[in-house]
Amino acid sequence: MSRDELRDLILTTIRQFTEMPETTALDETTRLFGDQTILDSLGLVSVLMDIEQQVNDQLNTSIVIADERAMSQQRSPFRSVGSLTDYVLLLTTEQTGA
């Protein structure tokens, strides 16, 4: 799965979860937690689980997005759509080698 495809999967998942209309701006810079974000803490948990499941289903992997590495980073990989895309791509690449 290319980075663009992965980003689109993440954006689609967020849109579906938040029932956000297509007209609402959502891109790589969209922040996922902190003040004035589109997800509350429970929403972020749900979206991360949904993304993890979809990625694992599509790529036949068993990545765990909220792993120790993610939790121990000074700058959370979950802070924005872009950083989350990079992190999930890293996890899938490590498992699939591609």
Binding site: S46, M49, S62
Partner: protein
């Protein structure tokens, strides 16, 4: 669709049989293989304290059934020894199965259950916790942690339609108490309101109640059998 951990023998096996009778499809697991088969039952050799093995178990459940409604975290080990004579390895082993195992299976269950906004997770504690039973420091400590996990998980999972409760059985005639002296068991029974050994049926009765759709407003509870302590 129900999962019972520690299903090879004892209460776990009994719960499997009764859940099958209730029409559930049941997946069970234990570290060792089972020498029995039941229609509608699927066994996995899984060490619940091993994250990869638990992940593999749940991947298999999701692929085969696509859902999970009930989890009974029955797998557990006991240690009965004076604190002064308890090796630290015992602490690690008991905690690995009782705390780590319950955590891993609870986490994986909730991930699967949330898709259908319904789930019933039942953990196993023991009346040894409120009794602060001498000679069971590690076991009681680990089950106290299971009770705490139950209460916190009930709050964190409520929004997903998942309830988390725990059952605290009295001694039941199983392998778990096989090596406990009869006098010790009797001493314990004497502290109960209803002075008898528990039966697997007593546990299933409570399981049956907690997994009912109508029990959606009951969560974070630790229910001890045998009456007030």
């Amino acid at each position: 669709m129900a999962l019972v951990t520690g299903s090879r023998k004892g209460i776990g096996k009994y719960l499997v049989e009764r859940l099958l009778q209730q029409g559930y499809q049941v997946v069970g697991c234990s570290r060792e293989a089972v020498d029995w088969e039941l229609e509608g039952y699927w066994h996995h050799q899984t060490d619940v304290s091993d994250e990869d093995q638990v992940q593999a178990l749940f991947d298999a459940i999701r692929k085969r059934y696509g859902r999970l409604d009930v989890t009974v975290n029955n797998a557990g080990v006991a240690s009965m020894n004076h604190l002064l004579l308890t090796p630290v390895k015992t602490l690690d082993y008991v905690n690995a199965v009782n705390i780590r195992g319950t955590f891993l299976v609870t986490r994986a269950s909730a991930r699967l259950m949330r898709a259908h906004k319904f789930g019933r997770i039942i953990n196993m504690s023991t009346i040894a916790v409120p009794l602060s039973l001498a000679g069971e420091s590690i076991y009681v400590a680990s089950k106290s942690a299971v009770e705490a996990l139950t209460r916190v998980a009930s709050r964190e999972l409520a929004d997903f339609g998942i309830t988390v409760n725990a059952i605290g059985p009295t001694p039941i005639e199983t392998d778990l108490i096989r090596n406990v002296p009869a006098a010790k068991i009797q001493e314990l029974i004497n502290q109960l309101a209803i002075k008898r050994l528990g039966q697997p049926e007593d546990v299933f009765n409570l399981v049956q109640f907690l997994i009912k759709p109508e029990s959606s407003y009951i969560t974070g509870q630790i229910i001890y059998l045998g009456g007030p302590l």
